[in-house]
Symmetry: C2
Subunit: 169 residues, 2 copies
Amino acid sequence: MSVSMHKISVPVFIRGLNVLAGLLDKAEAHAAEEKIPLDDLFNARLAPDMLPLSGQIQRVSDTSKNAIGRLTGVPAPSFPDEEKTFSELRERIAKTIAFLETVKPSDLEKSEERDVAINFGKLKFTFTGDDYLLKFALPNFFFHVTTAYDILRNQGVAVGKVDYLGPYS
Amino acid sequence: MSVSMHKISVPVFIRGLNVLAGLLDKAEAHAAEEKIPLDDLFNARLAPDMLPLSGQIQRVSDTSKNAIGRLTGVPAPSFPDEEKTFSELRERIAKTIAFLETVKPSDLEKSEERDVAINFGKLKFTFTGDDYLLKFALPNFFFHVTTAYDILRNQGVAVGKVDYLGPYS
């Protein structure tokens, strides 16, 4: 009749991070084929005051690992936003996945009842753990995965919905 | 130690649909202020082969109501993609929310164990209900909410992350 907090978070995040890594592969192949500097994609954005591709990936990393940090009460590792290349973005993704893989279902036991305080610009709010995950962390996580995808589509990279959803097997 | 299938789906979808309605308000205000035809926003897209704003909203409606249809085993109402105006898009959103509000937690009992078969282009796959929701329906739902937001940002509409996340209280 119900689903564990672990199942709603860790594998969902790992899946999205792997999707992102696949999008970076397609972006690199596109840049090579079209003879576009990779930096053009690295720095591409949808609006002047939105984060570029690199920033979207950094936020995917942070939203996932910090959500788990907040839900377990054990702070997630801090990764400074210093990536300058696609290969460094890939490393950021890999380090985030490596951290998430250390989280056991038992680490998230009763996390749905834990108080999670958010201080996000003007937004100050204390959630229960499950509300935090469902109303804040997951929407925010998918926002940044999707926006990374949308930036690449907007730049003409041939990615499709199947690349966004990821493989099923 | 766990969260109900209802809590992971219905209120999350309703929240996202209300967020969309709020984005339409901001888009209309922007068009009025900048003296841009509303149709320019209605038809705006990020890539020639992506759906425009109107299509993103139709897909948010379908991904949410059809996910619930598949998980309960009772088909969701069918809404043809015939909207031509912002007010018709609002109606589509309202009808979708009205349907979702009829779904009771008990309607989704044991839906995590239900087989859900997906036939999506080349993708043919049978999920358990919880995997379907977490690996397909929710990512797809947030994809279309985020892309609607991204289209508006790309068109210069002054929306921000707080508009995407929605109110907390």
